[in-house]
């Protein structure tokens, strides 16, 4: 101990002084980050000039010099000398880029199908609705039949009509369920049981009440849908964004279930299944999608009997499904690898069989871990479907190209491409943001402290 410290027995803290000027606030931040040195300053000013230049050019092209009404590409060029966009062409070609050559008077069917799909999935985001998995499963399993009926029209088989009826009943049930959940705070199943007075009976009887209501609804729906008379629209005139969404939608919806089965097969103890799944996955992962598409449309018909001559689109959809399943299988397998061995053992020790263990314990955990990767491959697939334009399917990209080859619109290339790109950007950006949201809310947190 020194003397000075002994004299200073009482501790007086020094008063806090404000920081030197020019180190805090906007000025401080700019000094530190933008103008730290001479080189920094030059770079900052250079970048600023570049940004302003680009911004100016973009504005000039898209707004200031843009032409909004014209009847041909020539007219556009006459007005703006090619220095601005010709948005007039987009409104002329809009319908083709959305629906391809699908006849105008029937396009409401496509719109109706997509509105139905959104309405079906919407309860997924309603917090008070229970049984979300059932809602999702009902849509994935039965909506395709309804959509096919709407898109194709014409005569269909009895089985198809039955499935369409099931879809109608389930869709209405989902929305009745939303109604009862919000108005009465109970699920549709409970309400039905309550109405019929079975509430205080054995639980096992409730199933029969539900079956009864379903049966009645099914008969009504079947009678209703048999009154439908839709003009047949051949698959060959489908096109535009509609076609893109059909291919990528089916690819995405089938990827997860098929991928899960393949991933389980690859980990199976049965050699035949394991070898088959492993070779399938490795084969499809090592070949570019475009090669698979070419094989599907040019080589597959050679192997099939002459009578079966499936349309190109069917072949392409099958190819995309196989390809996406192989990729998804590897994503799922990575998720499975992350699950602790103890989870399997606990499930087995409690007597769960393999499928129940997978469905109730392992998959929910693995899939939650893999959400970012799963959505990532969905986005990849969405963009990859534009490859079908190379084999001559008129998806949105090929439609965009076709616009510029029309005699009246010769040379009209840039605007349709920009328009297409912005569509993909919006869809993929939304998916990516939504996956980040999912990750934050359910991605493995489990309410951990």
């Amino acid at each position: 101990m020194t003397d000075t410290m002994q004299t200073d027995a009482v501790f007086h803290p020094k008063p806090s002084m404000p920081p030197p000027p020019n180190t805090v606030g906007v000025v401080g931040w700019m000094r530190k980050n933008l103008f730290g040195s001479l080189v920094d300053g030059i770079l900052t000013i250079g970048c600023l000039a570049l940004v302003l230049y680009v911004l100016n050019s973009v504005l000039q092209y898209t707004l200031i010099n843009a032409v909004w009404t014209a009847n041909s590409y020539r007219e556009c060029l006459d007005i703006n000398k090619g220095e601005g966009a010709c948005w007039a062409g987009i409104s002329v070609w809009f319908n083709s880029m959305m629906y391809g050559r699908y006849p105008d008077p029937e396009q409401w069917r496509i719109n109706l199908a997509f509105v139905t799909l959104f309405a079906w999935m919407a309860p997924f985001w309603f917090p008070k609705v229970s049984g979300k998995m059932l809602v999702g499963a009902s849509a994935v399993l039965t909506f395709p039949f309804l959509a096919a009926q709407l898109f194709l029209g014409g005569e269909t088989s009895l089985f198809h009509q039955a499935m369409v009826s099931v879809a109608l009943v389930l869709f209405i049930t989902v929305w009745l369920h939303v109604g009862t959940s919000y108005l009465m705070g109970r699920s549709i199943g409970d309400v039905l049981v309550g109405i019929t007075g079975f509430a205080d009976k054995d639980d096992r009887l409730h199933k029969w009440v539900h079956m009864g209501f379903f049966g009645v609804g099914f008969v009504l729906a079947f009678l209703y849908q048999s009154s439908w008379e839709f003009v047949e629209v051949p698959i060959t005139v489908w096109g535009g964004l509609f076609l893109t969404l059909v291919i990528s939608g089916i690819g995405i919806a089938s990827a997860l279930p098929n991928g899960i089965l393949l991933a389980l097969g690859r980990r199976s103890k049965m050699p035949v299944i394991r070898v088959f799944c492993t070779s399938f996955i490795e084969l499809f992962r090592s070949v570019p999608l475009i090669t698979i598409l070419f094989m599907a449309v040019t080589m597959m018909p050679l192997f099939l009997p002459v009578e079966i001559n499936p349309p190109k689109l069917i072949m392409v959809i099958v190819a995309v499904c196989l390809f996406s399943a192989a990729y998804m299988a590897e994503t799922v397998r990575a998720g499975l690898q992350a699950i602790n061995k103890g989870q399997y053992e606990a499930a087995q020790a409690m007597g769960l069989n393999f499928w129940k263990m997978m469905a109730l314990i392992v998959m929910p955990q693995a899939l939650k871990l893999m959400i970012p990767n799963i959505v990532g491959s969905f986005i990849g697939l969405m963009k990859d479907t534009t490859l079908v334009s190379i084999i001559g399917l008129y998806d949105i990209l090929l439609m965009a190209k076709a616009a510029g080859q029309n005699p009246t619109w010769l040379g009209f290339h840039t605007e349709p491409l920009l328009f297409t790109a912005s569509f993909f950007f919006v869809i993929c950006f939304c998916m990516s943001k939504y996956s980040q949201h999912l990750e934050r809310t359910i991605g493995g947190g489990y309410g951990r402290r």
Binding site: D203, R204, N340, G342, Q343, E345, A346, A347, Q348, A349, M350, G351, L352, N353, K356, L360, I361, P364, Q365, K368, Y446, G447, R448, R449
Partner: protein, 264 residues
């Protein structure tokens, strides 16, 4: 380890009602991991209501032995008969045995994506086909028995180690097993949580459950066990009543083990 954490030596031995009905029978069981002979000619007969403590050095095959009883491990030679059902490749038999045998693990192995209550009702609903209401009633009963009914809506990740292990015990009990296997249930716990889990296990013993417990809690063994089994290098070296085992060990290997374990 802890002679004194569970109970002082003078605590009376929990009364046991051992019937002469055999519930588990292992005869000449052999198991290999690849070339490594991990279980060698294991013979063991467990009677209904009997409480057996298994101890032995690390790697002696204790876990492997009890995991063979519910087929988490497959044995290659010998017979295992549980509740009259022969363990074999027949999946039906394995399922039947697993329904009757509960297991508690060293690392709890609760399902992290389900709440405590859902952890407890999952198997009763999906394996025993109980209704949700009935399964929840039973689950709450057992959660009360392990003294954590108020945690039912929480996720396992929000509980302490001791609480998690008690949930794991309740989860097994919800399947109404006739036999409970414990594989070092307190080894992953902090000292102050060990006794809360051991208390639950003592309570279970008092209710007459058949139990096989792999543990190094010698206090628990003295208080609860009807028989103590000492394993080393895949063999059962010695088995005896707790008094004889601790006061009067026969083999030198047992004496050495006891001196090491009681040295702390």
């Amino acid at each position: 380890m802890s002679l004194d954490t569970a109970a002082p030596d003078n605590t009376p031995h929990v009364a046991s009602v051992v019937s002469d009905e055999v519930v588990i029978e292992l005869s000449k069981v052999n198991k290999w991991f690849g070339e490594f002979h991990v279980l060698k000619d294991i013979d063991l007969t467990v009677y209904k209501g009997e409480r057996i403590v298994v101890c032995g050095p690390s790697g002696s095959g204790k876990s492997t032995a009890i995991r063979c009883i519910n087929r988490l491990e497959e044995h290659q030679e010998g017979d295992i008969i549980v509740n009259g059902t022969v363990m074999g490749t027949n999946l039906k038999n394995i399922d039947a045995i697993r329904r009757n045998v509960g297991m508690v693990f060293q690392s709890f192995n609760l399902f992290p994506h389900l709440t405590v209550l859902e952890n407890c009702t999952l198997a009763p609903i999906w394996v025993r086909n109980l209704s949700k209401v009935e399964a929840e009633r039973i689950a709450m009963e057992y959660l009360e028995r392990v003294k954590i009914p108020e945690q039912a809506e929480k996720y396992p990740g929000q509980l302490s180690g001791g609480q998690q292990q008690r949930v794991a015990i309740a989860r097994s009990l919800c399947m109404s097993p006739t036999i409970m296997l414990f594989d070092e249930p307190t080894s992953a716990l902090d000292p102050e949580m060990i006794s809360e889990v051991l208390d639950v296990m003592v309570g279970l013993a008092e209710s007459g459950m058949t139990m096989i417990v792999v543990t190094h809690e010698m206090g628990f063994a003295k208080r609860v066990a009807d028989r103590v089994i000492f394993m080393d290098q895949g063999e059962i070296v010695e088995q005896n009543t707790p008094e004889e085992f601790f006061n009067n060990p026969k083999s030198d290997r047992t004496k050495l083990f006891l001196s090491q374990i009681l040295a702390h």
